[in-house]
Amino acid sequence: MKNDGVMKKAGLGCIALVGLAAAGCGSDGGGSGNGNLSVLLEAEETIVDGLQSGTGEENILDGFDVEFNRYIASFGFVQMAQIDGSNPQSSSVVGIADLTSLPTTLPQLTAFTGIATGQYTEFGFETPAPEADVVNINSVPAEEVDAMVANGWSFVIEGTITQVSDGATKSFLIEADVPTVYSACAVEGLEPGVNVSANSSVDLTLHGDHIFFNGFPEEEGNVQRLAQWLWDVEDTDGDDVLTRVDFEAATDVGSLFPSPPQGVYELTGGPITPINDAWDFIRAQLGTQGHIFGEGECEWSPL
């Protein structure tokens, strides 16, 4: 929908698709056919290389650099189905990976083998709370895995923000439960979902810059990346690291996230309502960063 006055007073013409929602349909990779799909994990370059201050489209606009030392995430429960919900496939595999250090050859999370070929118009996955049987994709330290399992964290993100004007730095550690269900993944301009052939793959991509977005935009091309809010969060417990307790204490949302015309933040439409503090904002943005094939958008579930 665009607010351009062209919306028609007509019914919504929907082709009745039964989605992939049915739990338990399909199987962990088995099927009948000649199709094989390898599900790979990919990190956006912002996770590996960080974000730099500047005026470019991908830069942080308000004078900060950000680096990630760890970006550990839980992925899994891949589901897909062909049109009309036919040939549903699902995987119960959940893996943990540190996206700052993925190998050049993208690691495999799970695979579907011997399934029907063709377009799977419904494709989704989750960033669930990991359980004891979680697969350690790239040698995440055992104590990290244990902590994520024990606390239900989908993410452990550790990094540093640097104020470019004076070189001052702050460290942050985000240990967060963000059990998002991503669905209806699609690459713009292509058929929705993924195509399965005899030897095919799909990349599950997490973006590292969403916590610096100025809202939950229609298209990432319209987004602005800002980090002043993170810099402004106070280290309330004096441990020299911004953590959940500090983010939850940052309740002055009007100051952190100024609205137009003074600022550019729009907090409507995200997966968390209300957004009462910086922690809510972080979790909401983490719940939008799932993509396929790099920039292919997915719908996200409310948190």
Binding site: N3, L12, S183, A184, E218, D252, E266, T268, E299
Partner: protein, 280 residues
């Protein structure tokens, strides 16, 4: 995004996602405000005295998504602007929603200011406070005119001064506050409020929609101690866009305390649908 993708997304997970070419319907649309109940925050007792609201347009969509681009065609819509009394609990007629039968899942709307893709600047609609008018918010001297909300009230310190005005040498016993809010968007073609959830099966059965605003709730996130610091001795405080509490109001209006929807059928019983869009 191509049409097929949109259709696919709109129907994803839905066993009944609306029928092709639904029957035309007209749904009476009214608003209610909420009577101003005083509340106390940080030692300040706060009572609103005015909440004149600008509202519209609004679109109701079948999609679960909060992305308006995934709702190319609305099920129901109201395209005009209206002025409402946000503190009046009695029903205020807005007009009619026009559209077709189908399942509504989300609403997208503006507070009286629309920025069309085809226009260089946002515009306050005819019918809203101060409308019609071009909103020149790009101008550094821009002053919001309250096209979306004209809010005022009074705050009285009912606790120790140290609680009402911590760390301050002086503290007003009370002050009047005022905010003229223009709810703006950053990008043209996007609504101010996206994907507000409201599940309802729209049939040919007579039905009314009531939208209820609670402006007092918007002020609960405001820092009245900080506002007291803006009182220059006149006993009057006007929130400016650079005040964090102006943004707090906008965030409350659009995100944290948006209006609620009540769909009533002819039997005065709300007709609800479950997540699958089935009547329950």
């Amino acid at each position: 995004m191509n049409r097929l993708l949109t259709i696919t997304i709109l129907c994803a997970f839905g066993a009944s996602c609306g029928e092709t070419g639904g029957t035309f319907v007209e749904v009476p649309f009214e608003a209610r405000g909420t009577a101003p109940e005083p509340f106390t925050k940080d030692g300040w007792e706060v009572t609103l005295s005015e909440a004149t609201l600008g509202f519209g347009p609004i679109y109701f969509c079948a999609t679960d998504s909060a992305l308006s681009s995934r709702c190319e065609v609305a099920i129901l819509e109201f395209l005009d602007g209206v002025t409402l009394n946000g503190l009046e609990p009695a029903a205020q007629t807005i007009g009619s929603l026009f559209g077709t039968t189908g399942t509504v899942r989300t609403a997208f709307f503006d507070y009286g200011i629309v920025w069309l893709l085809t226009q260089p600047l946002p515009e306050a609609l005819s019918g809203v406070p101060g409308g019609p008018a071009v909103v020149r918010s790009e101008n550094p001297n821009y002053v919001p005119e309250g096209h979306s909300a004209r809010l005022s009230g009074n705050a009285t310190c009912v606790a120790d001064q140290e609680i009402c005005c911590p760390g301050e040498a002086t503290c007003p016993a009370s002050y009047a506050f005022e905010a003229n809010v223009d709810v703006l968007v950053v990008n043209a073609g996007t609504p101010a409020v996206n994907g507000l959830r409201t599940l309802q099966e729209i049939t040919t059965e007579p039905r009314t929609l009531t939208i209820t605003f609670d402006p007092t709730a918007w002020w609960r996130s405001v820092d009245f101690s900080r506002l007291a610091g803006l009182d220059d001795g006149s006993g009057q405080v006007l929130l400016e866009p650079e005040d964090p509490d102006y943004s707090a109001l906008v965030i409350a209006m659009t995100t944290n305390a948006p209006p609620t929807f009540t769909w009533l059928g002819s039997t005065a019983e709300p007709q609800l649908v479950n997540e699958s869009g089935e009547l329950r």
